[in-house]
Amino acid sequence: MDRKIRVIIGKPGLDGHDRGAKVVAAALRDAGMEVIYTGLHQTCESIVEAAIQEDVDIIGLSILSGAHMTIFPKVLNLLKKKRAEDIILTGGGIIPEEDMKKLEKKGVKKMFGPGTPTTEIVDWINENVRAKSKKTKTKKIKKKTGKNRS
């Protein structure tokens, strides 16, 4: 059987609004995923560290404090630095549409706005993790064959 999809739901920075993060965490858990909820007041570093340690497929960040344009790019950079870019970054919160678009351009795979049904998030994760694991599998095979050749 395929391994369960592993997700980390993170609350970076000082923001205390955790209703959305907890509802999404519970919905993903009920949809059969392994969910790690970081709790409040995490640094970007600690979230990325936990994501790597826990070998997650996806990081979901919840930001309602207005600090999204600082935090998302920082997490992207950390993932790059740690060579963990295969972990998908997504998130949501109180974020103007214009900023959501900017963040998606920078490399956040998808931003979810207020009112998104949890089923939509579950479907999106299922689809994108599956697509990703297919890609990594082919990559791994390619790598192997590459090695054999040398």
């Binding site: 920075g13 000082l14 205390g16 909820y37 404090s65 207005g66 103007p96 207020p114």
Partner: protein, 543 residues
């Protein structure tokens, strides 16, 4: 026609395919009559406005004498930016101020703290030292305007800064009017801004209560808040029960600290949410007044009638606003504000339509303020007191709310009281469970939210958004550095040392904090000093 006949007839009628419950899930009957109020006793259960048990209102002539205070919660960017917004709101007829602080300030951190990066001035105004408060209230006479400050773990410090600004304006402390939220219990339960563990937090709160009853007698020392409990996802009943139980816990700690209940209780105020279910909200406010009065008299033996008064502020429910078709939020907010007024609120904040995207623009906040002015000036609801009193439905709901709250009180007592129940994660679990249930109901379409799961549209949202520039953080850090350079650092060190000693020795912290503030010690320096003595809180992880 007899009631039985009507009931028979009614059962043959087809009903809409919908669950008939309040938004919190209480079942609702087709009709309420005098039979629902069989044991109803007017004098015992309602009384007259300004008289025990205050169900009909806390003052004798309520809005006939004075309308509620129109108080928009507001703050963003630098103190200069916010000062400008305050003057704008006052110019347009707002009657009180309410300060929103940014996250670093709420957590007692300075703008140059590593954790503050990206958050300075974003969610509210940044305050580091007394200099910032001087700018924030520049040109606003503190003897004429009342100010509410949403601040919790560092409440004592912000109050001290306000007192110091008043002093510079020549306003004595016994003239200052306003409120600090200072409700730490609901922070652990719902709003989640904390620094110290519960016990030292309760000690700071009783210090403030003691200091203010002697020195700042018109100041509301705690705003016992259900707003955030509701926003975090609770039902109306949970909001009511948890808020009041928190309130009684402050009363118990005050008495335990040796304060006279009739001296501090009259300065306790409350703060509730106004959510979607019109009648349920009104019943909640009425029940809250009755429970508070009865418990203060019977359980806590208060003698001063002012101790029985549950005065409260209301804010319309931010969590009900939608990013879809955002203009609808104006109407949603108007209904919620209407409920708060019919429920007898003392002050009111109406949310702006654009708050699911960012802090509100001037235009959006003006519409929100105008909504209150429309209710006050055009609808006629302020002409008579408690116009829904005596309604079979409202009185039944009020009774049910009261009964449900007492059941919760018993449950919490069995867990060892509020602080013990926080340690056990009781409130946190109850609230997150309700939040998840509500979301599931929306997704199963058992509850409707216009624009979200019914009457949806493919739309391009096109409304103006308030932007906080990057320069805010830079300017704020620059000013902080300047203040630190210009102040007498030896004096700052000395006042901080005395604060630490007072914390260790159970002395009242307020006078020491005032000395630190006047020496221009920073918020972060003071909070860190107390942290060294009190330690830090860590939450249990529950979802």
């Amino acid at each position: 026609m007899k009631k039985d006949d009507w009931e028979k007839k009614s059962k043959t009628c087809k009903e809409r395919d919908q669950e008939f419950t309040t938004v919190s899930g209480l079942p609702i009957k087709t009709l309420y009559t005098h039979e629902d109020l069989k044991d109803f006793d007017y004098d015992r259960d309602l009384g007259y406005p300004g008289e025990f048990p205050y169900v009909r209102g806390v003052y004798t002539n309520m809005y006939r004498g004075r309308l509620w205070t129109m108080r928009q919660f507001s703050g963003f960017g630098t103190p200069k930016d916010t000062n400008k917004r305050y003057k704008y709101l006052l110019k347009h007829g707002q009657t009180g101020l309410s300060v929103a602080f940014d996250f670093p300030t709420l957590y007692g951190r300075d703008s140059d703290d590593a954790f503050a990066c990206g958050e300075v001035g974003k969610c509210g105004v940044a305050i580091d030292t007394l200099r910032d408060m001087e700018i924030l209230f520049n040109g606003i006479p503190l003897d004429k305007i009342s100010t509410s400050m949403t601040i919790n773990p560092p409440a004592a410090i912000l109050l001290a800064m306000y007192i110091a600004v008043g002093e510079k304006q020549g306003v004595p402390t016994n003239v200052l009017t306003g409120t600090i939220q200072n409700d730490m219990l609901k922070e652990y339960q719902a709003q989640k801004t904390w620094i110290y563990p519960p016990e030292p937090s309760m000690r700071i709160i009783t210090d403030i209560m003691g200091y203010c009853s002697d020195n700042v007698p018109k100041w509301n020392t705690i705003s016992i808040s259900g707003y955030h409990i509701r926003e975090a996802g609770s039902t109306a009943l949970q909001e009511l029960a948890f808020t009041l139980k928190n309130g009684f816990t402050y009363v118990e700690y005050g008495i335990k600290a040796g304060l006279s209940v009739d001296k501090f209780a009259p300065r306790l105020s409350h703060f509730f949410n106004s959510h979607l279910d019109f009648f349920e909200e009104i019943a909640k406010y009425r029940a809250a007044r009755r429970i508070w009065a009865r418990m203060m008299q019977n359980k806590y033996n208060a003698q001063n009638p002012r101790s029985y008064l549950m005065r409260f502020h209301t804010q319309t429910a931010g969590c009900t606003l939608t990013a879809q078709q955002p203009e609808n939020n104006i109407i949603r907010t108007a209904f919620q504000a209407f409920a708060a007024v019919l429920g007898g609120t003392q002050s009111l904040h109406t949310n702006s339509m654009d708050e699911t995207f960012a802090l509100p623009t001037e235009k959006a906040v003006k519409i929100a303020l105008r909504t209150q002015q429309l209710i006050a000036c055009e609808t006629g609801v302020a002409n008579t007191i408690d116009p829904l009193g005596g309604s079979y439905y409202i009185e039944t709901l009020t009774d049910e709310m009261e009964k449900g709250a007492y059941e919760y009180f018993e449950k919490i007592d069995k867990l060892g009281g509020v602080v013990a129940a926080i340690d056990k994660g009781f409130f946190q679990r109850e609230i997150s469970r309700s939040a998840y249930e509500y979301q599931k109901k929306l997704e199963r379409k058992e509850r409707f939210h216009v624009g979200v799961n019914i009457f949806k549209e493919d739309e391009k949202v096109n409304i103006e958004i308030l932007k906080i520039s990057k320069e805010v953080e830079r300017d704020q850090v620059k000013l902080l550095k300047k203040v630190k350079k210009e102040r007498n650092n030896a004096k700052v060190k000395e006042t901080l040392k005395r604060l630490r000693m007072a914390a260790a020795n159970d002395e009242n912290l307020m006078p020491k904090i005032l000395d630190c503030v006047k020496a221009y010690a920073t918020l972060g320096e003071m909070c860190n000093t107390l942290k060294e003595e009190f330690g830090e809180y860590h939450e249990p992880i529950i979802f």
